[in-house]
Symmetry: C2
Subunit: 148 residues, 2 copies
C-alpha cells in the first residue's frame, strides 16, 4: 500500500485553502514542514520535514516518519532512540505547506536527541542589542551517549 | 537599533545545541521557520518564516514580523488585517533552525487569513489509500472580503 497525493493542479485558491482535497505543497526540495505537538499537553515537541514518502508512511503506519535533510533519507522517528511518535491526529494549514502532527510520544517521552522532552528547551533573551539563550530547566530524560 | 546575530562559526556542536549563544541557522534562502503558538491555550496558530530582519524586528518591537516568501518582503503580522501578534516568549530549538513564538493574538483573535483562529483548521483523514480533509468547524472570526 502506498498513498499518493494529488498536486492540487486545477484547484482554485479557495478550493486549496478551504476545500476537502488534501494536496500537500512540497517545496523545491520536495519537503513540507511538520510540527509535532504533544496531543495531551499541547507542548510543541519538535519541527522537522517530510517528503512524500515520509508523509505516506506516517499515514499508513500511524507512526511518524520524517525526512532527514542532513542525512538525506527517510527517518522513522525513534528507530534508533526508541522515542517513537504515535500519530493521534494530522492537520494541514490553509495553504497546505505545513503539517501539524498531534502525537503521543512513546519511549521515555523525549522527542529531542539531547534527551529532553522538547527541542525547544532554550528561551531567547534580549538585553539592549545583545541576545542570549537561557535553559528552561527541562530535564534530560536520557543520556544521548547511551543512545547514539 | 538593530540586533545582529552571530553565525555560530567556531562553536562546537555541543555549544550550538546546548549553549547560551543565540546563533539562528538561516537556510539557503536566509530563512528560519517560526511557529506561532497561543501563549495561554497552547494552540498552534500558524507556521511562517523569518529572515534576519524579521527576527530582529520581532525582538526589538515585541510584535511579530515574518518574511513573506510569496511577496518576498518583510511582513508585520496584522499590518493590514489588524491581527497583530504580541510576543510573549521566544524559544529556539536544539539545532537553532526553528523558532517558537508564544504570542498573544490581538485583533479579533484570528491568525489565519481565512478569518479563523488557527491556520490548522482541517484534519487529514485516511480511508484505505484515499485521503481527504475535514473541517474542524473553527468559526470564521472575520470575513476575509472585508479585510484584504
Amino acid at each position: 500500500m502506498s498513498i499518493k497525493f494529488s498536486d492540487g493542479k486545477g484547484l482554485s485558491k479557495a478550493q486549496l485553502e478551504e476545500g476537502k482535497e488534501f494536496t500537500p505543497k512540497f517545496d523545491e526540495n520536495g519537503l513540507v514542514s511538520a510540527i509535532a505537538q504533544d496531543y495531551k499537553s499541547g507542548e510543541i515537541l519538535m519541527l522537522a520535514h517530510m517528503n512524500e514518502q515520509a508523509l505516506s508512511l506516517t499515514l499508513e503506519t500511524g507512526e511518524v516518519h520524517y525526512f532527514s535533510r542532513s542525512r538525506q533519507n527517510i527517518w522513522k522517528k525513534g528507530e534508533i532512540s526508541g522515542e517513537v511518535q504515535k500519530l493521534i491526529e494530522m492537520r494541514v494549514d490553509c495553504d497546505q505547506d505545513a503539517i501539524l502532527l498531534k502525537v503521543k510520544q512513546l519511549g521515555v517521552g523525549a522527542a529531542c536527541h539531547t534527551g529532553r522532552k522538547s527541542c525547544f528547551f532554550r528561551l531567547v533573551e534580549i538585553n539592549g542589542e545583545e541576545t542570549s539563550l537561557k535553559l528552561t530547566g527541562d530535564e534530560q530524560l536520557f543520556d544521548p551517549k547511551d543512545k547514539y
